[in-house]
């Protein structure tokens, strides 16, 4: 390959890199704008529909708290919860079917 050719390839190569990355930056811009609109729209709707209990909307809560019927599980999976309940039932000698749990929550070591 001649040096002239290598120069040409290099110019083209840098051109392609810029092309792709500028295209990407353009798409990210557009994405931000579109997603911004969607989010704004959703928020407006959300505010309109339940201004009183906006706490329900917190995605983290929704993520971490499972609900199994009347029982709320926070930060524990059902398997663990079932085990906890089985242990308590066993230790208190109260059959599981007569025990009632409202909420099982994982807490940190201190607190």
């Amino acid at each position: 390959m001649s040096i002239a050719d290598s120069l040409l390839v290099s110019v083209l190569g840098l051109f392609v890199v810029f092309l792709v990355l500028i295209l990407l930056s353009f798409l990210i811009h557009i994405q931000s704008i579109i997603l911004g609109y969607i989010t704004a729209y959703q928020q407006r709707n959300a505010e309109a529909s339940h201004t009183i209990i906006p706490v329900e909307d917190q995605p983290e809560e929704a993520d971490q708290g499972w609900t199994a019927g009347e029982l709320k599980l926070i930060g524990v999976d059902e398997k663990t919860a079932a085990m906890i309940m089985a242990i308590i039932s066993d230790e208190t000698q109260i059959p599981l079917s007569e025990l009632q749990f409202k909420k099982i929550k994982a807490i940190d070591q201190i607190n």
Binding site: L8, L12, L71, A82, S89, S97, L99, Q100
Partner: protein, 380 residues
């Protein structure tokens, strides 16, 4: 070799995918995006559906050749190599090793009659098989479609990769999607087929299971099931080895790794490459829609099978068994057991069925493996 701006840009353009993309591939990429949405936003079994969806995306990018086999001049694609673990049946077995290490068979051992429910809830496998035959599928294909009703991902992938590999992506996607949809699919049938009085049934506490029983259990299951249905030995063998790691208490290192690093690595490879088999011209066929419909049918009839036997056990035991735990026999651990729990509490707020439903739930895993073994013996 001489270069010119025009020629070089043409070469780049020609090696780019825009020139050759078909509308089918574009559609598949859209399907992939929908699956990503379902996995992330709807949380449909994301551990597998997200890698599967991304595999669908990657496999339908033209010219990327991620699934191309090696040729004389070029090495194969990345996903081609990772796919060998699916093709050779290695990944599903290793996933079962991890699942075994995560599963507590205690509730099953405490009430062995759970196994009956785990058997009845395989009904959908055979109903879907019959309908698939009626729709003109070949027996090996119909068997693979039926196994969706086993509600067990690795088993479905194991069987399908052996009997009908070209249906793998549709079956895997259907199986995992319906497993995620269990809380929507099952409750209507649970309420339809049971009376309020049945649903209110409180069950007696399970007896305590000794460590020794839990250790002997995987050995017995391995010997019995693998003797009767040798073709399913890789699945049951690894499931029980993992469970032995768990219950033995002397190999905590292996237990931990089977449950984490190993199963996670295999899940990434399995999910991505199973998704990557969904190339447009294989996936975009009427059969795919039929498979998705038959999969739903299979899930429904498995649920019904479990519930009906649950009702029978309610009758026979004089009301000691809540029929709602029957639907948990489909497997789909632990989602189906959770649905039993929720429905039970709706009928009677003091009802706590979770532990009772775990028995049929894990029995369903064994049940669908046995069904797979039967189908492999017939059509393998």
């Amino acid at each position: 070799m001489s270069f010119s701006f025009y020629e070089t840009m043409l070469k780049i353009w020609n090696t780019s995918a825009f020139a050759v993309m078909t509308w089918q591939e574009a559609l598949m990429i859209a399907v992939a995006c929908v699956l990503i949405y379902l996995a992330i936003v709807k949380k449909y079994e994301p551990l597998l559906l997200l890698p599967i969806a991304f595999g669908v995306l990657l496999a339908n990018l033209p010219l990327a050749g991620l699934m191309s086999p090696p040729t004389e001049n070029a090495v194969g694609g990345l996903l081609y190599y990772l796919y060998q673990g699916v093709k050779l049946g290695i990944y599903p077995s290793l996933i079962f090793l991890g699942i075994g290490a995560m599963t507590d068979f205690g509730p099953l051992i405490a009430r062995p009659s759970s196994l009956f429910l785990g058997a009845a809830a395989q009904l959908g496998i055979y109903i879907a098989f019959i309908v698939a035959i009626a729709l003109g599928f070949a027996p090996n294909e119909a068997a693979s479609i039926g196994i969706i009703g086993g509600a067990d991902g690795p088993t479905a992938i194991f069987l399908t990769s052996k009997l009908a590999p070209e249906l793998l992506p549709a079956i895997a996607i259907a199986a995992y999607s319906y497993m995620a949809l269990i809380p929507l699919i099952q409750p209507p049938f649970m309420r339809l087929l049971t009376t309020k009085k049945e649903r209110e049934t409180k069950m007696e506490q399970l007896r305590e299971v000794s460590k020794l029983e839990k250790i002997v259990f995987p050995v017995i299951v391995t010997v019995v099931v693998c003797m009767l249905l040798p073709s399913v030995a890789p699945l049951i063998g690894m499931l029980m080895l993992g469970n032995l790691f768990r219950e033995s208490g002397v190999v905590e290192r292996l237990n931990e790794t089977a449950q984490n690093a190993l199963i996670n690595i295999v899940t990434i490879f399995l999910g991505t490459t199973v998704g990557a088999t969904a190339v447009a011209d294989i996936f975009l066929r009427p059969e795919t829609l039929k498979i998705i419909a038959l999969g739903l049918l299979a899930f429904i009839f498995s649920t019904i099978g479990g519930l009906l036997l649950g009702k029978l056990m309610y009758l026979v035991t004089g009301g000691k068994v809540n029929p709602l735990i029957g639907s948990a026999g489909v497997s789909a651990v632990p989602m189906a057991a959770r649905v039993s729990q929720i429905e039970g509490q709706k009928a009677n707020p003091e009802n706590f069925l979770l532990m009772h439903a775990m028995g049929p739930n894990v029995a369903g895993v064994i049940g669908s493996a046995v069904a797979a073994g039967f189908l492999l013996a017939m059509f393998g």
